[in-house]
Amino acid sequence: MSEEIPVKAVQVKLVLLGEAAVGKSSLVLRFCQGDFNENTSPTIGAAFLTQKCRLENRIVKFEIWDTAGQERFHSLAPMYYRNAQAAVVVYDVTKSASLEKAKAWVKELQRQANANIVIALVGNKVDLVSSSTASPAEVAKPKVAENEGGADAEENEDQEDDASPSPSPSAAEEASDDVRQVPTAEAEAYAKESGLLFFEASAKTGHNVGEIFTEIAKTIPFDTISPKPTTAQSGNRRSANTNENNNVNLGENQQAKKGGCC
């Protein structure tokens, strides 16, 4: 298990932000445990989870801070996003207000957080929006096309998506007029304009969840992250810890199964 992992495990501190009840915790849970649980554990301040990812020749270890969405916890958020290399800002595609809040978070991150922070904008709950599930994947892919070879098609859901007919974004918007309040194109345009990665995902079905983290891992400029002096030691400690930890087993199973990331 851990001895097979190449020495180069890179840590990535990632923070999840977004309005209450957009499904931040569910996304993380899906990512870390492949699970969708309605009764997720409470988030006081922030929940802390870890998950490993294999990306090309390196292992990326995500340390995920899943922050509380309630407005009054806002002032605590800087504690969690400081030093973060990546942020996932989540909104709910069925609630337009949540995109506004997401934009506010993006603004805040761009002003207050690490200069090089990689931000991904994620519209969650696409499962509630009928028949448009495939389009976001299509939308997301062109951006990162050049890197595509490294980590692809690990998730079952992803394969399903690929198999399903993928209507054009505009068609998708028309099809899902009722519940959907945030058109894909609108959010995507905003993401492009602000230099964010963009995904529409579903924590419930698992659609696109893995991709979010894969893309983030690819986008982070690892070469510029100078390893801390104690990295080797901490790496050892970590793998020792992780053996006791259930998360990692799941992660490793997935790795074994798919040989890819997550």
Binding site: N39, P42, T43, I44, H74
Partner: protein, 1052 residues
């Protein structure tokens, strides 16, 4: 956008309030007075609330307490805090009690030979408490009189006692004799038979029947938690529930129970080994004092639920989302019953305290409480938690949480400097781990059975326990903590530690007794022994020191967020928006904005009908300003919206500022109210200012016209023309000379002339503008005179108005430049409001604060004026708001329109703040405040010819002493930590693993804590004790002198 308004209204508690808090005595406001007819369901937040009908006087006195059947006698301080009688022993830990006067049935003065003034109190259940009042006789007699009055006031409450008592488990416990309790165990199990299979410990041995008590229907109507139905967490046998219950029962027999519980040294020991599950809920409410609230407000909880049934709010939505995430591992919260209870308590509280509403983490806390408490019990304990024990933890800005995290960091820095340094070096914040500890009282951090033992201690001893435990956790894990390099490792380490907290702390030790010590026991020992230097006073002092910093941070943070979240900032620069925000905020906090400023949620039917906080379309809470506040706001920005009086005398020159009042300001208010809500949001204000401040000549004329066109038909009526002129005159009111008056007169004349010439034809309902080209002026005049109600007909349109204005050079200039320029965005001094306003503790600062108060300043000003007048140098004039005319003015304003800026610059930004009026004109902002204050001080001391000097001297000494004490305390604390003795492992007794429960075992554990705690019973010895013993046998002195009986309670 919700502003943290309450931060500025914060004031330190008075000594009296601290005393009340210490004894868990609720404030007067939360106890309904006997005459109030309807119980108020929503909290009265006003701090200045006074029970005005009859304010019962409280009093402190030295006393010695003893109880019948108990050897120990304690000297201490007796406090009468109506309607409570409280005692604390001199060492502040051995003995204390809070006794509601309504539980006292009889008070007698005892006839003692020693000649001491002694009172015997008999509680309703016959416990006798002897109090020797050791002060001088007259003082003691005075105290007795006050006590009698206070007792009399409680007659009504005494009647409520009888129906209340059955709700308490301890009464039930004591009413069932031991033998029958054990005998009942069979039936008990039969009744509970159906539930047995669901219990976490289905093979529970029979022996615990009496400790669970007969829980079946009809057997005791005491308030009970979910645990009675779904099983309490933990193994009752391992936790020695039965022995603990027996010990508590014995304790109750002698030391009183529930409302009359006295805390003697055994209490502390029984507490620290963990409360028995069935008694826990009741002891929680007794120790925290929430039981007094439940007693005093029997209907409130039910009313809250029934009055708000079916209502939904942002809070109820948020509660709904979190219900399933509240201790889901506990059985009850997988059932509808448990979730329904949790929902009801949280929802009821959110309506009780709408300002706080609901905060994540409360779901965890309440879920924990409900295992041991009924809904009503949990509700009142929640109120005590939010108000007193964890103040500000769950409020919308969570300032209490942020503050205590900072306090915790500072304590870590003080007590565990190595760890602190390491954390700084690897850039890890302790709060990432410690925040949930504090917010959820460790309930979410460690296994429930241990977490609840910490809750026991927090409720009994106060918030300092959270800090002590936190410090102990860090200390125990110290070595490992020095290895961590990032917050992930930190979290994992803490998680691992907490998950093994029930394991042996010394698994490899040869001695089985040492092996039996768990990590948790060790944690408690370290927390309460090594960190007993952390006292309530430490926490209070640290909070006081750091509060200003936190408040400023929160304000800056919410300012950033508010500015960022504005949808439209017009043509303003971000910094200008910041200034507008500062003015907006300071206006709300300004005392001139009226008493409702701080009570952001007025009571229904309250006289302040303008809500300050509203929920916007997206369910967010928004702060808005009402009309009165707007006047204050505008006075800070528009030069004509304030009255400035410049006073010079022989010594100083100062500018006093008042808020002006005129219809024009009201017009602006309503014009800017884009959503017709009667209140303005920051966005409204920004857009309003954007329009008036970026306007050129034509735009200015236009908005000024629109402002006076009430029905928005594009025409002013004759009345409105007059009103417009009045507005102009108002703006020009303080301009010297009469050119403005002349201009306005001319304007009126011209307006009528042009108006007559161009007035629309037809009647009221025909609003089509008609150019009056074909009409002759006289014809028009005739018509307008003859037609009905000429004064409210459409009369002057915008084009004509513009023409009239442009006809006058002065007015043209005014609209082209002066009007726009009269709105000025200047920095307030608010940036570091709290720190600037904090009373510095230093020697000089303390002195200064004592001397320079607002009161003093006013006196000083008057005094200086007096001197000035005497010297013939007193002068006062109104400052013009535009300053167009060339100076007929004395000294101050060399004015012409181009000099506007130069003149304004005489005013420092600090002075622009309006709400603080300062006598000297000094350059710079808040920093220079102190220097100006210093100069005042010197002026004062020279001028007042020493009348205040003795006072000052004394207070100086006070300050110095306090300062010295504090530094000594800190030093002592540090030394105590440095020289800690190795912790007494040997003292921890063995605990037998094999089932045979015996009291010895528990007491071993108890003894261990006793030793670890270093608490010898510090009862009085010798003489005084003997006196106390004698008193127990003493006869009442004179029955009629101070006897009080309430017949209703005799047969209880």
């Amino acid at each position: 956008m919700s502003l943290p308004l309450h931060l500025r209204s914060y004031r330190e508690k008075s000594k009296d309030e601290y005393t009340r808090d210490f004894f868990n005595v609720p404030t007067q406001a939360s106890l309904p007075s006997s005459s109030s007819d309807t119980p108020s369901v929503v909290k009265i937040r006003d701090k200045g609330y006074r029970n005005n009908e009859l304010e019962l006087q409280g009093m402190d006195i030295n006393a010695v307490i003893s109880v019948e059947g108990k050897e120990e006698v304690y000297a201490g301080r007796l406090s009468l805090l109506p309607p409570f009688l409280c005692f604390i022993s001199l060492d502040r830990k051995s003995c204390r009690c809070t006794i509601p006067l309504y539980t006292i049935r009889r008070v007698e003065r005892l006839n003692s030979r020693a000649g001491v003034f002694a009172l015997s109190l008999a509680t309703w259940h016959g416990m006798r408490i002897i109090l020797q009042l050791t002060s001088l006789l007259p003082t003691a007699e005075h105290f007795a009189i006050l006590l009698r009055d206070a007792l009399k006031s409680q007659l009504a409450a005494m009647k409520q006692l009888k129906p209340f008592l059955p709700s308490l488990y301890s009464e039930y416990l004591l009413s069932s004799p031991l033998s029958t309790a054990t005998g009942q165990q069979q039936t008990d199990h039969l009744l509970l038979g159906t539930e047995l299979s669901e219990k976490p410990n289905p093979t529970a041995p029979e022996g615990e029947g009496d400790l669970r008590g007969p829980g079946g229907e009809g057997k005791g109507i005491y308030q009970r938690g979910l645990g009675e139905q779904f099983g309490f967490p933990g193994d009752a046998r391992k936790m020695r529930e039965r022995s603990k219950m027996k010990l508590w029962r014995e304790y109750f027999m002698i030391h009183g129970r529930n409302l009359t519980l006295l805390r003697y040294p055994p209490f502390q020991r029984l507490l620290q080994v963990g409360l028995p599950s069935r008694l826990r809920g009741e002891l929680w409410e007794v120790m925290s004092g929430s039981v007094y609230l439940r007693f005093a407000n029997p209907e409130t909880y039910g009313l809250l639920l029934s009055q708000n049934a079916g209502k939904s709010s942002q809070s109820t939505d948020e509660i709904e989302k979190d219900l399933n995430r509240s201790l889901p591992e506990y059985k009850a919260y997988q059932s509808e019953e448990g979730l329904a209870r949790l929902r009801r308590v949280l929802v009821a509280y959110s309506f009780r305290n709408p300002e706080l509403g609901y905060c994540q983490a409360l779901n965890i806390v309440v879920a924990g409480l409900l295992i041991y408490m009924s809904e009503e019990q949990a509700f009142w304990l929640l109120e005590v938690l939010c108000d007193r024990i964890l103040p500000g933890y769950y409020s919308p800005s969570m300032e209490g949480t942020l503050l205590d995290q900072r306090v915790f960091e500072s304590l870590v820095h003080r007590c565990l400097p190595m760890i602190q340094e390491h954390f700084v070096s690897v850039d890890v914040q302790i709060s990432v781990a410690s925040l949930p500890w504090f917010l959820s009282l460790y309930i979410n951090s460690m296994p429930l059975i241990f977490a609840f033992r910490i809750v026991d201690c927090v409720l009994a001893m106060g918030v300092k326990v959270l800090f002590q435990i936190g410090l102990a956790v860090l200390k125990i894990n110290g070595e490992a903590l020095l290895e961590i390099t990032d917050d992930g490792m930190f979290i994992n380490l803490m998680r691992t530690y907490f998950s093994t907290i029930g394991d042996s702390a010394h698994p490899d030790h040869p001695d089985p007794r040492v092996r039996a010590i768990t990590n948790f026991q060790e944690l408690l020992v370290v927390a309460f022994r090594e960190f007993n230097v952390i006292t309530d006073e430490t926490i209070t002092a640290e909070r006081k020191r750091l509060r200003a910093i936190i408040s400023d941070e929160i304000e800056k943070f919410s300012k950033r967020a508010a500015v960022r979240n504005l949808k439209n900032i017009g043509k303003f620069h971000k910094d200008q928006i910041g200034i507008i925000y500062d003015h907006y905020f300071s206006a709300i906090c300004s005392p001139e904005a009226g008493p409702s400023s701080y009570t952001s949620n007025p009571l229904p039917g309250d006289q302040f009908d303008q809500p300050r906080i509203q929920v916007d379309a997206q369910g967010r809470v928004e702060t808005r300003i009402d009309h009165r506040t707007f006047r204050v706001f505008l006075s800070q920005i528009a030069t004509w919206a304030r009255e400035e009086t410049v006073t010079t005398n022989a010594f100083i020159q100062r500018t006093d500022r008042r808020v002006a009042d005129h219809e024009l300001i009201d017009r602006l208010f309503f014009a800017w109210d884009s959503q017709d809500q009667g209140t303005l949001s920051l966005q409204d204000v920004v857009m309003g200012l954007n329009r008036v401040m970026t306007a050129g000549l034509m735009e200015s004329i236009e908005w000024f016209f629109e402002l006076h066109d009430k029905d928005k038909d594009g025409f002013l009526t004759k009345d409105e023309v007059i009103q417009l002129s009045e507005s102009l005159l108002f703006i020009f009111r303080n301009e010297p000379g009469d050119i403005y008056l002349a201009a306005v007169s001319k304007f009126i004349l011209n307006a009528y002339e042009f108006g007559d010439a161009t007035a629309p034809e037809g009647s009221v309902d025909e609003k089509v503008p008609i150019n009056g080209d074909s009409e002759t002026a006289s014809g028009a005049r005739e018509r307008s005179d003859s037609s009905a109600g000429p004064h409210n007909l459409p009369y002057l349109n915008l084009a004509t108005f513009r023409m009239v204005v442009l006809a006058d050079e002065l007015l043209e200039n005014f609209f082209a430049n002066d009007l726009t320029a009269s709105f000025q965005l200047e920095q307030t001094e608010d940036e570091d409001y709290h720190q600037a306003h904090q009373r510095s503790e230093g020697l000089l600062g303390g002195l200064m604060n004592l001397v320079v108060t607002n009161e003093n300043k006013n006196r000083l000003n008057r005094l200086a004026d007096g001197f000035g007048a005497a010297l013939g140098k007193h002068a006062e004039w109104r400052k013009p708001s535009l300053g167009k005319s060339s100076g007929t003015d004395p000294t101050l304003t060399p004015s012409s329109s181009s000099d506007l800026k130069a003149r304004e610059s005489l005013l420092t930004p600090a002075q622009q703040a309006g709400q603080i009026q300062r006598p000297t004109i000094s350059p710079g902002s808040s920093r220079t405040r102190s220097s100006s204050a210093v100069s005042q001080t010197s002026i004062k001391t020279t001028d007042t010819t020493g009348t205040n000097t003795p006072d000052d001297k004394r207070s100086l000494a006070d300050v110095e002493m306090r300062y010295r004490e504090e530094s000594q305390m800190v030093k002592a604390a540090q030394e105590a930590v440095m020289h800690r003795p190795n912790f007494a492992i040997d003292a921890i007794g063995d605990s037998d693993d094999e089932g045979g429960e015996d009291d010895e075992g528990v007491m071993d554990e108890v003894e261990a804590f006793l030793k670890a705690h270093g608490a010898d019973d510090e009862g009085l010895k010798g003489e005084q004790k003997k006196v106390a013993e004698d008193l127990l046998k003493a006869e009442p002195m004179d029955a009629k002198k101070k006897t009080k009986e309430t017949g209703d309670l005799v047969d209880l």
